[in-house]
C-alpha cells in the first residue's frame, strides 16, 4: 500500500482492464464436448469405475441382473408381456447408468477443453540461461529451480520465476485471457512472472522458481482436468448419506421377497414380486438423481470458479468459500477504486489556487489515467478552467514512467511536472529550485487523512498539491448489504489512520474495519475470528500477506502478487481483482445449495415412485373374486394403465430426470443473496415440494405414452 501511495499512477494499466464477469462462458452443451462425453459415458461403464460410486454401482448391478433375467425369458420363450417388460427395464437401467456417466463426463469435458487450451500455451521455446560464461540457449523444459534466464521484448517467459533485475510489460493473456499487458519488476510485490507469458517491452532477468512439471500452468492443467480432484469433505459426507440410504432401501426391497412369499402362502395364489420388479423398485428408491449427479456438481463448481478466472487449488477451498463468515477486504482496489480522484487543489502559501489548478489541468490534458482525467474535471468544475487544445507542434507531453514517477507537459517557456511528491521535490532540487517546507507539510497532512498528494511544479518551482481522494466503488454498498443478508461480515483492512478508515468504512457500508493494519494485525484478526468459530476469507498479493493467506480458510492470492503469496493462498485470481472474493463465496454457496437441492429432490421423489410401483408389484396378491387386480392396486393414485406400464414409467422417469437435471448440476441452482431462512423457504418449496409433486404428472404422462406406443399393456 505504501508503494502505491508513492506511485499512484502505477496501477493504472491493470485497473483499466479489470473485469468482474466470468470469461466468455462456454455454452452449456458445446458440441465437441458433448461428443467426447458421449464416448466417455460408455468408457465409464467399466465396473471398476462404477464401484467408486456406491449408488450407481447398485444400478449397474441391477442392470446386469435384469439383463440376465431378460435373456432367460428370451431363451425360455416366456409368453406374454414379461419378456418385453424385463427387456425394457434392463435397457432403461443401463440408460440410467449411462446418463449418470454422461453427466460426469460432460462436467469433466468442460475442464478438459479448458486444459487443452492451456496446453497450447505451454511453451517449448528456448530460453537464454545465464552461466558464468555468458548466455546459453537451453530448452525451456530443462530449466530447473534456481536457473537464471534473460527475457527481452518478444520473448516468451520459459517458466515460472521471480524478476531479479529490470522492469517489463508482460502479456499474460495466455493464462488470464486478458490482452492488456501488466508490469513486472524486480523487488516488491510485482516480481512474479508465469511461464508461457510474453514480454512485450523492455528486458528482465528472471530467476526460475519451478521445476519442470511443477509450473503454474502445469498445476492449472492438472486442476481443471480433474486429475488432481479429490472429494471434498461435504461431498464425502453426502456420499455416506446416500450410500446409507441405498443400503436401507436394499433391505426394504430384498425383504419384500419373503414378505411376498408369506402373502402368497396365505392368499393361496398370486405371485411374490420377482427379481426384475424388485430391482426396478430398488433403483427407483435409492437416490440415483443425486448419486448420478454428485460428482458432476463438484466438477462443475470448480469449472464455474475457473470461468471467473480464479484458479482454486482444491475443491475443498471452493466449498469452504460457501461457509465463509468473515471477509477481509483490502481497501485499495477492492472497496475503493485503485485510482483516486482529485478532490482539492491546495496551493502553497502565497500561490494563487487558480494558478495551481490551471497548471494541474494543463499537465493532465494528455493524461488518460482516471486520476489525470479527474484533475481536468475538477479544474473545470470548481474553477471554471476549460480544457483546451494545445498547439501540438510546440507542445510535448511527458508520459508517466515507473522511473521518473512524474508526468507533465513541455511548452514553449513552460515546463509543468506533476507526480509523487518526493519525485517532484527531487526534480525541483536537481534543477536548482528550492522547496518550501509547507509543501511537505501539506502532503503529510493529506497522507494522514488517507488521501494521496500529488505535487505540481511549473518551471521547476512547486505550486502546490493536488489532493487525490479515495473513491468508493459504485455498487459496493449494495454488495455489502447482500453479504450482510447472507450473514457474512465484511472487514475493511487499510493502512489508513482510524479516522479516515472510519469515514471510508461508513461510506462503503462495511461492517468493521482494521485501520493502520500491519501484516501481524491481519494475522491476529484472522486467528481471533477463527477461534470464535468463524471461517475467514481474504485476498492478498504481497509477500507479507503470505502468512495471513495461509492462515485464512479461503485465501485468494492475486496473480500479480508474489510467488510466496500465490503459494500460501488456496486460490489464485488470474485477473487480480480482489472484489471477486464475493463471487467466489457465491459460487461456493451455490455448489452446496445444488447438492442439497438435488438430494432433497431425490428423496422426495421416492413418494411418488412408491405409488407407481407398490400397487403394481403387489397387484396379484389377495385378489378378490371377479377382480383382475388385488386390493393394493387401489393405491395406484395416478391411474396408471397396468402394473407393467406403471413400473416401466417409474423407471423411465427415474432415468430421464438425471438427464433433465444435468443443466442444473452444471450451472448450479440459481442463487440470490438472501438470508438463510428465505433461501431455505424458497428451495424447500422448489426442490422439496416440487420433488414430491412433480413426478406424479410425469410418470402419468410416460405411462400414457408407453401404452400409446404399445410398449406396455393397457390393462
Amino acid at each position: 500500500m505504501i508503494a502505491q501511495q508513492n506511485s499512484p499512477l502505477h496501477t493504472a494499466p491493470e485497473t483499466k482492464n479489470r473485469q468482474n464477469g466470468p470469461r466468455k462462458a462456454r455454452p452449456l452443451l458445446d458440441p465437441p464436448i458433448v461428443k467426447r462425453a458421449l464416448r466417455d459415458a460408455f468408457i465409464k461403464m467399466n465396473p471398476a469405475v462404477q464401484a467408486r460410486n456406491p449408488v450407481m454401482f447398485v444400478v449397474w448391478t441391477g442392470s446386469l441382473v435384469t439383463t440376465l433375467a431378460f435373456l432367460q425369458n428370451l431363451l425360455e420363450a416366456t409368453k406374454g408381456w414379461i419378456t418385453p417388460f424385463s427387456g425394457q427395464i434392463a435397457l432403461w437401467l443401463w440408460f440410467t447408468v449411462l446418463f449418470a456417466n454422461f453427466a460426469e463426463a460432460i462436467a469433466e469435458g468442460r475442464g478438459k477443453a479448458q486444459a487443452d487450451e492451456l496446453r497450447k500455451t505451454r511453451t517449448t521455446t528456448m530460453a537464454r540461461r545465464k552461466t558464468k560464461n555468458g548466455l546459453e540457449d537451453i530448452a525451456a523444459s530443462l530449466l530447473r529451480k534456481g536457473d537464471v534466464v534473460v527475457c527481452e521484448t518478444g520473448d516468451i517467459i520459459p517458466s515460472d520465476g521471480t524478476v531479479t533485475e529490470g522492469i517489463a510489460s508482460v502479456d499474460e493473456s495466455a493464462i488470464t485471457g486478458e490482452s492488456a499487458p501488466v508490469i513486472r519488476e524486480a523487488g516488491g510485490d510485482r516480481s512474479a512472472v508465469t511461464g508461457g507469458t510474453k514480454v512485450i517491452s523492455d528486458r528482465i532477468v528472471v530467476e526460475i522458481t519451478a521445476n519442470p512439471g511443477e509450473t503454474f500452468i502445469d498445476r492449472m492443467i492438472g486442476l481443471v482436468e480433474g486429475a488432481a480432484r479429490q472429494k471434498t469433505p461435504n461431498e464425502i459426507a453426502l456420499n455416506i448419506l446416500i450410500a446409507g440410504l441405498t443400503l436401507v432401501f436394499l433391505f426394504a426391497t430384498v425383504t419384500l421377497m419373503p414378505f411376498g412369499v408369506y402373502a402368497v402362502n396365505q392368499a393361496g395364489g398370486g405371485q411374490a414380486p420377482g427379481i426384475v420388479v424388485l430391482t426396478a423398485l430398488l433403483v427407483c428408491l435409492i437416490p440415483t438423481t443425486i448419486g448420478g449427479l454428485l460428482s458432476a456438481i463438484g466438477i462443475a463448481g470448480m469449472d464455474r470458479v475457473m470461468q471467473y478466472n480464479v484458479l482454486a487449488m482444491s475443491g475443498k477451498a471452493v466449498e469452504a468459500a460457501g461457509d465463509v463468515d468473515v471477509l477481509l477486504l483490502d481497501k485499495t482496489g477492492t472497496i475503493t477504486l485503485g485510482n483516486r480522484q482529485a478532490a482539492e487543489f491546495i496551493p502553497l502559501p502565497g500561490t494563487d489556487v487558480m494558478e495551481l489548478a490551471d497548471a494541474a489541468q494543463l499537465s493532465s490534458l494528455a493524461d488518460e489515467t482516471p486520476e489525470g482525467r479527474s484533475i481536468v474535471v475538477l479544474a473545470k468544475e470548481q474553477y471554471g478552467i476549460r480544457g483546451r487544445s494545445l498547439d501540438e507542434k510546440t507542445t510535448e507531453f511527458v508520459p508517466f514512467t515507473a522511473q521518473t514517477r512524474m508526468s507533465g507537459v513541455d511548452m514553449p517557456g513552460m515546463t509543468i511536472r506533476k507526480g509523487a511528491v518526493q519525485a517532484v521535490i527531487d526534480d525541483v532540487k536537481q534543477n536548482g529550485g528550492s522547496v518550501p517546507r509547507a509543501l511537505a507539510e501539506i502532503a503529510d497532512d493529506i497522507s494522514r487523512k488517507g488521501g494521496t498528494p500529488l505535487a505540481v511544479a511549473v518551471n521547476h518551482a512547486p505550486l502546490g498539491i493536488i489532493y487525490l481522494k479515495d473513491v468508493v466503488k459504485g455498487g459496493m454498498k449494495e454488495r455489502f448489504d447482500h453479504l450482510r443478508a447472507m450473514g457474512i461480515k465484511t472487514v475493511m483492512i487499510t493502512g489508513d489512520n482510524p479516522l479516515t478508515a472510519a469515514a471510508i468504512a461508513q461510506e462503503a457500508g462495511v461492517d468493521d474495519f482494521l485501520a493502520q493494519a500491519k501484516p501481524e494485525d491481519k494475522m491476529a484478526l484472522i486467528k481471533k475470528e477463527q477461534a470464535e468459530g468463524r471461517l475467514v476469507a481474504m485476498t492478498g498479493d504481497g509477500t507479507n500477506d503470505a502468512p495471513a493467506l495461509a492462515q485464512a480458510d479461503v485465501g485468494v492470492a492475486m496473480n500479480t502478487g508474489t510467488q510466496a503469496a500465490k503459494e500460501a493462498g488456496n486460490m489464485v485470481d488470474l485477473d487480480s481483482n480482489p472484489t471477486k472474493l464475493i463471487e467466489i463465496v457465491e459460487i461456493g454457496k451455490q455448489l452446496l445449495i445444488t447438492r442439497g437441492a438435488l438430494t432433497t429432490f431425490s428423496i422426495a421423489n421416492d413418494v411418488s415412485k412408491y405409488f407407481a410401483i407398490i400397487p403394481a408389484m403387489f397387484s396379484t396378491l389377495y385378489v378378490l373374486k371377479g377382480q383382475k387386480h388385488g386390493p393394493l392396486w387401489g393405491l395406484n393414485l395416478m391411474h396408471l394403465h397396468s402394473p407393467y406400464s406403471a413400473v416401466l414409467a417409474a423407471v423411465i422417469f427415474n432415468a430421464l430426470i438425471i438427464i433433465a437435471l444435468i443443466p442444473v448440476a452444471l450451472r448450479g441452482v440459481p442463487y440470490r443473496p438472501q438470508s438463510a431462512s428465505k433461501i431455505l423457504q424458497r428451495n424447500l418449496a422448489i426442490w422439496g415440494a416440487g420433488g414430491l409433486l412433480m413426478p406424479f404428472p410425469c410418470i402419468w404422462a410416460i405411462d400414457w405414452l408407453l401404452v400409446l406406443m404399445h410398449l406396455a399393456p393397457a390393462h
Binding site: 446409507g244 426394504a252 419384500l256 470464535e532 452446496l592 389377495y622
Partner: protein, 601 residues
C-alpha cells in the same frame, strides 16, 4: 366419536404443555448438579450412593468411557435379573411357589430362553413380556428383578440423551459428563420421588399393594376364580413414568388391579409423556435457546395429534363387517363406547383407549389398556407406525429426545445444504463422521425390523420340537406359532419386531412367542435396537462436543422456526417411514381394503 372423547385428548395435550416447562427446568438443574428444593431431603442419599460406590461425580468422561460405563452397567444389571428370575424358587416372597414342585398347575416356568428374553427386555427399557406376570414370576422377581430395571433403564436412557445434548451444546470439549452421576441424579431426584407420590395416588385409586398369596374365590356364576395379589402400585408408577410398560399382570393396564379408574388411567397417560416432554425443554435450556426445544416439541405435537386423531376416528367408526349383522356400533347411541370395542375396557371408553395406544407407542412405553391386536387395520396402523418412525413423539424417557435429535441432524444435513453452507446444528458443523454414525443407527434399526420379520415369515427351523412350540411337529415358524393368518398374521410378526427393535414392548400378540426361536430373536432385536442406536449417538455426541461453535448469523440455517419443525416432520415421515411403506402395505393397508370388501382370514 364424541365431544367428551375429543375433549379428553385436548385436555391431555394441554396438561402436557403445562407440565413441560417446570419438568424441563427441574431436570436441567438435576443433570447439572444444581441445587433444587429436593436437595435438602435427597442430597444425602445422592452423596451416600457416591460414597458407597466410590464415584466422584465431577469426573468427566469422554464418549467412549461414557458408553463403556453404560454398557457395563447394563450387562451387570441384566445378569442380575437373569439370575433372580432363574433362581426365584430359592428366593423370598414367592407365595405361589413358582419354580418349585409345589407350583400350581397353571404356572409357567422361567426357561433359559425366557429368562434371557425377559432380562434383556427390562434392561433395554422394552418390557416385552413373553410371560404372564401373575402366572410365572414371584413377587420378589417382579420387584427386584424387573421393577429395579424400570428405574435403571429409564435413568440410562435419560443419561444418554443428556450426554448427546451436552455433546451438541458444549464447545471444544472432550467429555460428556459422568454416567454414574447422571443415572444417580435422575433416579434420586426425578424417578424416585415422583414414583413414590404416584404409587400413593394409585393406591388411593384402588391399585393393589400387598404381598398376600393368591385367593381362590367362587363367583356368583358358580365358577372358580383365582385372584392374584402383589406389590402392584409401586411398579405401576415407574412403569409409565419411565416409559417401561411392563405390566405386573398379563393384561397390563387393562387389568383393574393395575388401572382401576378413568382418573387413574388419565394420570398413567400423563406420566408416560411427562419426562419425555420435559426433556425437550431441558434440551432447549442446554441449547441456550428454548425455542430450539419448542421446535422439536412442535414437530412431536403435530405427529401426536395425527396419530391420536386417526386412531380415535378409525376405532370409533367400528368394523363394517359387524354392521351386516345388525350390531349397533354407533357412538351416537352408545356414547364413547360406540365403534370397535373389542379388546377395549368399558371403564375407559374409545377415546381413552385409543389415546393410550397412541401415547404408549409415541413414547417407547408399551403399557397397554386395550389390545392393539383387536384394533381395526388402520387404527392398529397408528401404534405400528409410531414405533416404526422411531418413537420420537415425546418418546421414551431420553430415547425419544435422542431419536428426534438424530432426525434433526439428518434433516439439517439433507436440507441444510440448501442454504449454501456446510450444515450446522446448534452451531456445530455436521460432517462425514456424524452422518456416518446417524446412518449406521438408521441402517441397523431398519435391518433389525425387516430382516427378522422376513425370517419369521418364511423360515423353517431344524428341530421343531425345540425351536417351535414344545412337542410341536411343524417346522414352519409361521404355522407353528402364528394364530392369525392373512395380512393380520403378517402385521403381528412385523409388529413384534417393530416393538422390540423400538424398545416399546407392546404387542399385537397373536403369536406364541414363548419359544426358543422367538425369545432369542426378539431378545437380539431388543439389544440391537437399544445399544446399536445408543452407541453411534454417543459417538456423535463425542465428536460434536469437540467442535467449535459457529456463532449464528443471518446465513445460519434456522433450527428454531416453524419451517424447521415442518422440515423435521417431513424427515420423520419420509426418511423414517419410507423403508417400511412396502411392508406396511402388505399388513394393515391391504387388510383394511380386504375388510371393507368383506374378506376375512
Amino acid at each position: 366419536m364424541t365431544t367428551i372423547g375429543w375433549m379428553q385428548i385436548a385436555l391431555f395435550a394441554l396438561l402436557i404443555l403445562v407440565f413441560t416447562r417446570p419438568t424441563g427446568r427441574f431436570m436441567h438443574k438435576v443433570f447439572e448438579g444444581e441445587r433444587t428444593w429436593l436437595t435438602p431431603f435427597l442430597g444425602p442419599l445422592e452423596q451416600f450412593i457416591y460414597k458407597l460406590s466410590g464415584v466422584s461425580p465431577q469426573e468427566e468422561m469422554d464418549w467412549k468411557i461414557y458408553s463403556a460405563a453404560m454398557l457395563a452397567f447394563s450387562v451387570v444389571t441384566a445378569a442380575f435379573t437373569y439370575i433372580v428370575l432363574r433362581l426365584q424358587q430359592y428366593l423370598p416372597l414367592n407365595p405361589e411357589h413358582f419354580g418349585t414342585k409345589h407350583a400350581p398347575a397353571w404356572a409357567a416356568a422361567v426357561t433359559p430362553d425366557l429368562g434371557f428374553n425377559t432380562a434383556v427386555s427390562f434392561t433395554t427399557n422394552t418390557n416385552w413380556q413373553a410371560y404372564g406376570g401373575e402366572s410365572t414370576l414371584s413377587y420378589f422377581s417382579q420387584m427386584a428383578g424387573l421393577a429395579s430395571h424400570m428405574f435403571f433403564s429409564a435413568a440410562c436412557g435419560m443419561a444418554v440423551a443428556i450426554a448427546l445434548v451436552r455433546g451438541l451444546t458444549r464447545r471444544n470439549a472432550k467429555s460428556l459428563g459422568n454416567f454414574w452421576a447422571d443415572i444417580t441424579r435422575s433416579t434420586v431426584y426425578v424417578l424416585l420421588p415422583l414414583s413414590l407420590v404416584l404409587a400413593l395416588f394409585y393406591v388411593d385409586q384402588g391399585v393393589i399393594m400387598n404381598f398376600l398369596p393368591y385367593r381362590t374365590v367362587h363367583t356368583v356364576q358358580g365358577s372358580v376364580q383365582i385372584i392374584p395379589g402383589g406389590p402392584v402400585a409401586s411398579m405401576e408408577a415407574i412403569k409409565e413414568l419411565g416409559t417401561n410398560g411392563g405390566g405386573f399382570f398379563n393384561a397390563n393396564s387393562a387389568h383393574p388391579f393395575e388401572n382401576p379408574t378413568p382418573l387413574c388411567n388419565f394420570v398413567e397417560m400423563l406420566t408416560i409423556f411427562l419426562l419425555g416432554a420435559g426433556l425437550v425443554y431441558t434440551f432447549g435450556i442446554y441449547a441456550g435457546d428454548t425455542r430450539q426445544g419448542w421446535a422439536l416439541f412442535g414437530t412431536m405435537a403435530v405427529l401426536f395429534f395425527i396419530g391420536a386423531a386417526v386412531a380415535y376416528t378409525q376405532e370409533a367408526r367400528g368394523n363394517p363387517l359387524f354392521s351386516q349383522f345388525g350390531i349397533n356400533q354407533s357412538s351416537r347411541s352408545l356414547g364413547d363406547l360406540g365403534g370397535n370395542m373389542e379388546g377395549k375396557e368399558v371403564r375407559f371408553g374409545e377415546a381413552a383407549s385409543t389415546l393410550f395406544a397412541t401415547i404408549t407407542t409415541d413414547a417407547s412405553c408399551g403399557a397397554v389398556n386395550s389390545m392393539h391386536d383387536s384394533y381395526t387395520p388402520l387404527g392398529g396402523l397408528v401404534p405400528m407406525a409410531n414405533i416404526l418412525t422411531g418413537e420420537v413423539i415425546f418418546g421414551g424417557v431420553g430415547a425419544g429426545l435422542y431419536g428426534m435429535l438424530m432426525y434433526a441432524i439428518l434433516a439439517v444435513f439433507i436440507a441444510g445444504l440448501m442454504v449454501g453452507r456446510t450444515p450446522e446444528y446448534l452451531g456445530k458443523k455436521i460432517e462425514a463422521y456424524e452422518v456416518k454414525m446417524a446412518m449406521l443407527a438408521t441402517l441397523i434399526l431398519t435391518a433389525d425390523v425387516l430382516v427378522f420379520t422376513a425370517a419369521a415369515c418364511v423360515m423353517h427351523v431344524p428341530h421343531a420340537a425345540y425351536w417351535n412350540a414344545p412337542g410341536g411337529t411343524s417346522t414352519s415358524l409361521v404355522s407353528a406359532n402364528t394364530n392369525n393368518s392373512g395380512p393380520h398374521g403378517f402385521s403381528e410378526i412385523l409388529y413384534a419386531f417393530d416393538s422390540t427393535t423400538g424398545n416399546n414392548g407392546s404387542a399385537f400378540a397373536g403369536i406364541n412367542v414363548n419359544t426358543p426361536f422367538w425369545n432369542l430373536a426378539l431378545g437380539i432385536s431388543m439389544l440391537a435396537g437399544r445399544f446399536l442406536m445408543m452407541i453411534p449417538l454417543l459417538a456423535i455426541a463425542g465428536s460434536m462436543a469437540a467442535k467449535k461453535k459457529v456463532p449464528a448469523s443471518a446465513g445460519t440455517f434456522p433450527t428454531c422456526t416453524p419451517l424447521f419443525a415442518g422440515l423435521l416432520l417431513s424427515t420423520v415421515i419420509i426418511v423414517g417411514a419410507l423403508a417400511y411403506f412396502p411392508a406396511v402395505s402388505l399388513g394393515p393397508i391391504v387388510e383394511n381394503v380386504l375388510m371393507h370388501a368383506g374378506r376375512t382370514f
